[in-house]
Symmetry: C2
Subunit: 412 residues, 2 copies
């Protein structure tokens, strides 16, 4: 593992200086290889699926693991989409001139070496590999042992792409064996050769990485996402947004988990609860909510801090904007929170005072996604405050340096 | 110590929402208190100085520790200068509109809780406290035990400022006793209540913090700063810049430590060495350099990676731009490096390819300083690639969040 780290660091140096053209050529060749070798990828995936079935893997995990032609094509297309993004390296982030004539530019540079630890989805191999490469970073990929054969077949396509563009093969490395100790060594930072770790998977993986990592982590542990229907909310917007925020997809981190309805909007509570229950969503309410519909179950204290990732929602009546923000501060996860209101001042206060990576006014929380933000692709959503926050796209996978242009200036 | 962390976290929440006016009022009142209580500060400093003399502290450390009217006035003025800076919180860093009409803003927010660990200079108490407050962060200050009485007297002035503006007193906390275990506990992150640590002091302090900290660190271990005289360098500029870069002040991190002269500029070697030796600088040269002036001492392998912080310089003849950049990559510290040349293409390559926080063309490396960059003040210079790099001013002490403005949008 330490050798892997050293090779990554060496590759990162050259990669940071690679031209956009070379990086894009590698990505295009990788996508072509994924298409050309789809039979090999499927054969590798068959091995993983067989083993998983023999090990009685759950249906939802089997679905995450499975690759078919459609998914392989989507993977190749994803790599091409990343190639089509603007190069984040070399962007001039700021430029200013000093009274002594010095012109100073802050310019984006790669971050260095990124470690990605993921679970059963083998397509992360292509996504994460391509994103890191685009930003000029070397990456060490550690996929789940369940998806090892699939990931290895996909990784071979990425290496083919690197070769085609004369980029160092160590730019995208896959931890080569089903090495159980590898995660622990990555968390320790591979002797200073790992700059950041991105965990992609369930809560227990993220929790372990956040607790044990000695290097920075871009991640979120959970998305306890709130929609707050303010007293001045438009009733129709509230119905539409709450439905979409909770039910469009229930398993994503931007899905709403708690609905807060202001006492001043109490009339909207019944139609909101009816809409949700009619749509098959289990509603767990506080006292005020329970009286409204026979289908409402009682919410326990635990419900307010539970990420269901399912067709379940907790509903609470709150007394004013401050009470809503207090609830979010106390129970939330600083991920994504939304206010529905026609009152601009209330919206501005909510957007300013709620300390979450993403705060929305009159829009579904399911927009919490790098693609929806226009970032092209994301490696995840971060709730930490260091370096990256919110959707982590290629721009957040860069650092910067200062270029100072002089004509002989000395300091007095 | 854990209680200190909890109090800081609680204070940070309110502080993040404080108005610019309140923060500036606190800073103005702090500066006024520093002036009004200068007799108390001097009395406290006398205690520290007495103990230090009794403990045979070195002359240079005694000078660092000493406070007089001039230094106290400079400290008060420094706090006022920070008050006069633009508020870094709330800046709109990016703003874009999506095809569905969503308007997304990336807005600067505070980082959270910052720990500052410093040594004998008591004025860091005021500088660091004021910088963190300006950026809306709570700060935990851990000064050297040598300067404890002085720091406590200065800290009392800052607390007076916070009170005058009705800001939480726990926004700026000083570790209250000569607690030897405090540093260790801060390095562990105070139970998740410390977001970043800034060490201010000598190499051994920085090394310990970088090795042991479980939270991100903004720092540089050393500044092995290079000036490279390219083949197309203007001889007069080279003389002026090298002299300033090495000798203006020798004890700062931006002072040059190694001079690389290109073979194509070999004619400049003798005048450069003569200028340095005449100015009282010890020159340690490679073979080519040693023949040039009887005063040149031989450089050992160790010299190329030594930060002298003194009137000593290592000098080497290199064969071309690539050799110069290889030397810098191998021996450098990614802090600050400079090329002197009239060849624009060579300058652009150097600025692009040298992987240092600050790269300069035809300007003294002693400009490596937040004040010289126009940042108003700095808490230090960072050579890491995470979050902050180069001079760390108030803007680098912030994070960001996304504000999304909609009018009823839902995700398809």
């Amino acid at each position: 593992m330490l050798d892997l780290g050293k090779r990554a660091r060496a590759a990162a140096h050259g990669l940071g200086l690679a031209s956009s053209e070379a990086k894009n050529r590698a990505l295009a060749a990788s996508a072509a290889a994924i298409r050309a070798q789809s039979h090999k990828i499927k054969a590798a995936n068959d091995l993983d699926m067989e083993a998983a079935r023999a090990a009685d893997m759950s249906k939802s995990n089997l679905d995450r693991l499975m690759l078919d032609d459609k998914r392989i094509e989507a993977m190749a297309k994803g790599v091409e989409d990343i190639a089509a993004l603007a190069d984040p390296v070399g962007r001039v982030l700021a430029s200013f001139e000093r009274p002594n004539g010095l012109r100073i530019e802050r310019v984006a540079t790669p971050l260095g070496v990124i470690g990605v630890i993921y679970e059963s989805r083998p397509n992360v191999t292509a996504d994460a590999g391509a994103l890191c490469l685009k930003a000029g970073n070397a990456v060490i990929l550690r996929g789940g042992s369940d998806s090892f054969h699939s990931s290895r077949a996909i990784h071979a396509c990425l290496v083919e792409g690197l070769r085609a563009a004369n980029l160092p093969e160590a730019a995208i490395q896959l931890v080569p064996v089903k090495d159980r100790a590898a995660v622990g060594e990555m968390l320790k930072g591979l002797g200073g050769n790992l700059d950041v770790i991105v965990p992609r998977g369930g809560k227990s993986l993220v929790a372990r990485v956040q607790e044990e990592a000695r290097v920075p982590v871009f991640a979120h542990l959970e998305g306890i996402v709130h929609v707050y229907v303010h007293g001045a909310a438009d009733a129709q917007k509230a119905l539409t947004i709450v439905r979409n925020a909770k039910l469009r997809r229930t398993g994503i981190c931007g899905a709403a988990e708690t609905l807060l309805v202001d006492k001043a909007a109490q009339a909207q509570l019944a139609p909101l609860v009816k809409m949700l229950a009619d749509a098959g969503c289990e509603v767990r309410g506080d006292e005020a909510t329970r009286g409204i519909d026979a289908r409402v179950k009682p919410a326990s204290e635990e419900d307010w801090s539970t990420e269901y990732l399912d067709a379940i929602i907790s509903v609470k009546l709150v007394d004013g904007l401050d009470a809503a923000m207090d609830h979010i501060e106390h129970y939330g996860s600083h991920h994504t929170d939304c206010i529905i209101t026609e009152d601009k001042a209330a919206a501005e206060r909510f957007l300013r005072e709620v300390d979450s990576a993403i705060v929305l006014h009159n829009a579904s929380t399911q927009f919490a996604d790098g693609g929806e933000f226009g970032f092209g692709a994301e490696i995840g959503i971060a709730t930490g405050r260091m370096h990256a926050r919110g959707p982590v796209g290629v721009e957040q996978l860069t650092s910067f340096k200062y270029r100072v242009h002089g004509n002989g200036q000395t300091r007095a």
